[in-house]
Amino acid sequence: MSEGDIARRRFLRQSAGTVSAIWITAALGELGTLSAISCAPTKAKTSWQTFSAADAADVEAIAAQIIPSDATPGAREAHVIDFIDRALNGFAKEQQPLFTQGLADLRLRVSTAHPGSQSFAALDRQQQIAILHALEQSKSDFFTAMLAATAAGMFANPDYGGNRDKVGWKLIGFEDRFFWQPPFGYYDRDEATHA
């Protein structure tokens, strides 16, 4: 990318692969529209752009296992589900069939493993984790896409609907500013004093 060695999104490409790529490369034309939508205040959703209420509950439950809520906020508090719902009707539209198929497959797995259960979202934590491990081991494209979509929903600019109140960024210690001054961290403290 350089020409210059712009590189190292190679990390990403390597671990991500084609199924995930779409989640980390919003289309150029999307920007204006997406940024124009202000974040809705936190409240229970009554309507979704892509999902049925049941789908949304399952997708949110998966995201909440990928980045769980514990002492600190997780995918749920970041409103990752809002991000995914909106993206599947926008820049990630081409993955709608993957999600439809993936959710149908998930339901089948749930009903096979736990006859009589209502949905993935209704399972308890251990049951959910077991199902997701099985999904991961089956090299499910849907699960791979969910990993990428959850990371994007957790850490993209809040303008896209997730990372609500920047909880994702606060979690890992990232801050988006236009100006920083040394010292930047621990190891350059002395340098900055001497400079």
Partner: protein, 558 residues
């Protein structure tokens, strides 16, 4: 992007029917320099750029849209590539090439790591001998020929660094115009590690200005460099430097959204201009006395191959058969380390210290080439979450979350930049079946690493781990050493040489077969150097412009 800016028509100076002095294909690292150098000498220049003409005001801190380059680079969906590892195979669709598709090209979004080549990079074949399975050769020019241009570009665009700080630096006639950018926590660790190993860490030479320079503001350490466009114009891209200076002459027209499909030739076998698609996919023929290709190491050979004719049946400027061959990337081995305290790599430019003690290896190591290291952190949060943790870390769940929390601010990556040997069968050709959205053949890449490069990367990765351990990492880890795709350093595919039978351009970038055709970009490289090709691409462009101007003045071109 704001639509209005994309739609703003650039100032029109010339009509396609005007026979301008030079038409330049590609407004990137090399094209921007050529445009400025030629227009400042009074030549009438048209620059055709595939991508849009964005400005600093269009760039933003948005990883999803810009960080991952959807906005600034070629789009695989409209311009697919195909890939195979051997000429015997049928190539399959794969995203293997990434380049800046924007006015300013790769210099807009690059890291701005700005290394000169060393003397050895030009003469390694004769100094150290040939290598089996490689078309390794000397350049027809030496470091001494290029040195004035390395110095020139440092001063023309603004480069920050400390002359003499690197004991392995090649000789230079002048210091840097600007002091180095602030040392980062990772830079302090690089110094510690180097000291412990008896090596030498020095301030990274960066094409980012540390102080106000020629009307541009200094870097404010916002951290959005690699993959992003600089909102401050502190990164010394051709968009921020050369291109406005070219336009100011009144002799240079930048025409964005113009995708060249063919170099046209006349009955005498000279270049007569180029045919391109405009934004509405209309074909337009721009007449010119000379043509300069600065389209990058993949698009340039593609264009030459597409420009075949009865007179040039194997593609233009290809009597040697070397167009598209000898593709090189630069090796790059990656290692990560986690430290006890905060690194906060997201603040400031990507890298502040470089180590080049391995630029030339001890013969006892038994490997050709060499390389250097930088300590860096270049992952925005989404990229980090998907690929920044140790490769054995969980990909989801409570422990994954805990590691994201601990590692984001405390990780350092050591990137080894290394030699990639030229191999004749590693190539860019036209895919026989796959087409792009304009109906042009897709770029087909054939590539398999030379065994030396595989071992060299392994060797460099071992040293990277040693450096991290010496710096006091609590944990260090390796990333995959397989060649990364898409590749960004695209080199060697129209190599320079004195012999028209084994090279495409002469020592002054003039095509052996077509006297009014110049080829100036990564494709001219004979060897890969050790990484960071942009500075050399730009120094070559300054030098090529001198020769092209002289040739044009002598009217030897048309």
């Amino acid at each position: 992007m704001r639509k209005s800016l994309l739609d703003t028509p650039p100032s029109t100076l010339f009509a396609p029917s005007d026979e301008v002095d030079f038409v330049i294909v590609g407004a990137g690292s090399a094209g921007g320099v050529m445009a400025r150098e030629l227009s400042q000498r009074g030549f009438r220049v048209v620059v055709l750029e595939q991508g849009p003409y964005l400005r600093a005001a269009d760039f933003r801190h948005d990883e999803l849209a810009i960080g991952q380059l959807a906005a600034l680079t070629n789009d695989f969906h409209s311009q697919p590539n195909t890939f195979r590892t051997s000429e015997k195979d049928v190539a399959k669709k794969k995203e293997v090439i990434k380049y800046g598709r924007i006015v300013g090209g790769g210099s807009v979004h690059f890291t701005a790591n700005y290394w000169r080549f060393h003397e050895i990079d030009f003469i390694e074949r004769s100094r150290k001998g040939g290598i089996e399975g490689s078309s390794f050769a000397d350049w027809p020019i030496t470091y001494a020929d290029l040195e004035p241009y390395y110095t020139k570009i440092e001063w023309e665009i603004g480069v920050s660094g400390v002359a003499g700080a690197n004991p392995f630096d090649p000789p230079r006639t002048k210091g840097y115009p600007l002091p180095p950018l602030p040392i980062k926590p990772a830079g302090v660790l690089a110094e510690r590690a180097a000291k412990k190993l008896g090596w030498h860490a020095f301030p990274s030479p960066m094409a980012i200005i540390s102080q106000p320079y020629r009307g541009r503001s200094a870097c404010v350490n916002c951290g959005f460099c690699e993959t992003y466009g600089c909102e401050m114009n502190a990164k010394s891209s051709t968009l921020a430097t050369m291109i406005p200076e070219a336009e100011k002459t009144g002799n240079c027209e930048i025409r964005p959204l113009s995708y060249v499909r063919r170099v046209e030739t006349n009955a005498a076998g000279r270049a007569a201009g180029v045919t391109y698609f405009d934004a509405n996919k209309r074909e337009i023929f721009q007449r010119a006395k000379s043509v300069v290709l600065c389209a990058n190491g993949a698009e340039t050979p593609k264009l030459l191959l597409m420009s075949e004719s009865n007179r040039f049946p194997n593609g233009l400027a290809n009597s040697s058969g070397h167009v598209g061959k000898n593709l090189m990337f630069n090796g790059g081995a990656f290692a990560g380390g986690a430290f006890e305290h905060e690194i906060n790599g997201f603040k400031g430019v990507v890298t502040s210290r470089v180590i080049q003690d391995t630029y030339e290896l001890d013969p006892k190591v038994g490997l050709a080439g060499g390389g250097g290291f930088d300590f860096r952190h270049d992952l925005s949060p989404i990229s980090f979450a998907l690929g920044g943790l140790p490769i054995d870390a969980p990909k989801w769940g409570a422990e994954y979350k805990r590691m994201l929390q601990e590692y984001y601010t405390r990780s350092v990556y050591v990137l080894a930049h290394a030699t990639s040997l030229p191999v004749e069968t590693n190539s860019i050709t036209l895919d026989p079946t796959q087409k792009d959205a304009w109906g042009l053949p897709a770029i087909r890449m054939t590539f398999a690493e030379h065994p030396n490069d595989v071992k060299l990367n392994e060797y460099m990765q071992d040293r990277a781990i040693e450096l991290l351990d010496a710096a006091g990492a609590k944990k260090s880890w390796r990333f995959s050493r397989d060649p990364w795709f898409p590749q960004v350093h695209l080199l060697g595919t129209a190599r320079m040489g004195n012999d028209p039978k084994s090279s495409v351009v002469d020592r002054n970038h003039r095509a052996h077969d077509v006297p009014n055709l110049f080829i100036v970009d990564g494709s001219s490289f004979v060897t890969s150097g050790r990484g960071q090709p942009t500075m050399t691409i730009q120094a070559l462009a300054f030098r090529a412009a001198d020769h092209a101007a002289r040739a044009a003045k002598g009217a030897a071109l048309s």
